[in-house]
């Protein structure tokens, strides 16, 4: 894997960006629904309509936006806000690190430019593409734009029409992202070494979820799996 010397998979061209946009459209439909849930929750928390939309447009990270709503009041405490947003979004750091072997082939402006729209779904799709030697930059940028547009559109709908939507949990819509990410895991490399690494990641995540501060579990589990992978290396081909 990591055939990063193969430069053809890390070019940024508009046809690929359009293709990435289309590939992420189905999952974006569900992101619209999450956006509606956020817009509705934000309106109920007392945010201005313009503030809710601005937050979705500029932050574009759903879980952390819901987290911020928990802290919202007449006064918003700054340090807990920063800690909460950082902790929930810390997985982006790992996504950036995992994409680096391919992104380093791009000039710095493009490298950081495409990362501005990185999110769970486009990251998972692009990693899968890169790992099987296919182009992935278009998936990051095009897919990210699709997800961003869906998130903002959903937030707008939620702010203005949210109260008309029925309970998304009873429709199973809260499981879309979880099922999507699980499908990405299972679609990846499967062998005994990987299964053990995933097991360690799962157990560490659960222990952190139980005993460590909130939102630390993703980073703890991912690092535990990564460290095991670095110690127990595959034989070089």
């Amino acid at each position: 894997m990591l055939s990063s010397s193969d430069k053809s998979v890390v070019e940024l061209n508009w046809a690929e960006v359009g293709d990435g946009f289309k590939q992420l459209l189905p999952i974006s439909m569900f992101v619209v629904v999450f956006g509606v849930a956020f817009g509705l929750a934000a309106a109920q928390t007392g945010l201005d309509n313009s503030a809710s939309l601005l937050m979705s447009a500029l932050v574009f990270a759903g879980a952390s936006q819901f987290g911020a709503l928990d802290l919202w009041g007449a006064q918003v405490p700054v340090v807990p806000l920063i800690v909460t947003v950082f902790a929930i979004n810390a997985r982006h750091l790992l996504m950036g690190a995992t994409l680096y072997p391919w992104l380093r082939e791009l000039p710095a402006a493009k490298r950081y430019g495409v990362m501005m729209v990185i999110s769970d779904a486009n990251w998972a799709m692009s990693m899968q593409a890169f790992n099987s030697g296919k182009p992935g930059i278009g998936l990051i940028l095009g897919g990210g734009l699709a997800l961003w547009a869906a998130w903002v559109l959903g937030s707008w709908l939620g702010v203005y029409f949210g109260s008309e939507i029925q309970d998304p949990v009873s429709l199973g819509l809260d499981m879309v992202m979880g099922c999507f990410l699980l499908a990405m895991v299972i679609g990846g490399q499967k062998n005994l070494r990987m299964l053990v690494i995933w097991g360690v990641a799962a157990v560490s995540s659960l222990l952190a979820h139980r005993y460590l501060p909130e939102n630390s579990h993703v980073v703890v589990g991912a690092l535990a799996g990564g460290v095991l992978g670095a110690v127990w290396m595959e034989k070089k081909k």
Binding site: W72, V78, G178, L181, W198, G221, A230
Partner: protein
């Protein structure tokens, strides 16, 4: 320290959130540009990329309701059988919805 959420205050709060999130989006790539990519680092990265997802999903599976667990199980089985993500996701979601309506 707190910020008044009325008027311009909410704008400042949102800018802080946007900035922190941007740091997380760009930070991983930035830090890695100082790390020499040898075989061990490659193995670390590839092991970590699956582990991020597993770590995200594990509490969802353990602490979720039975609808959530059944959804994940269904997605896993369909994905193993068909190797196509969209039917696998759809099957999982439908399973959660059906189970929660029983």
């Amino acid at each position: 320290m707190s910020i008044d959420s009325a008027g311009y205050g909410s704008f400042i709060i949102i800018l802080i959130m946007a900035l922190v999130t941007l740091v997380t989006r760009l930070g991983g790539v930035f830090v890695m540009s100082f790390v020499p990519i040898n075989y061990r680092v490659q193995q670390f990265i590839s092991a970590m990329s699956g582990s991020v997802l597993v770590a995200l999903l594990a509490p969802l599976a353990l602490n979720g309701d039975n609808g959530a667990r059944l959804a994940l199980l269904t997605t896993a089985v369909v994905m193993l059988l068909l190797k196509k993500p969209l039917p696998a996701i759809a099957a999982g979601v439908v399973m959660a919805a059906v189970f929660r309506h029983l």
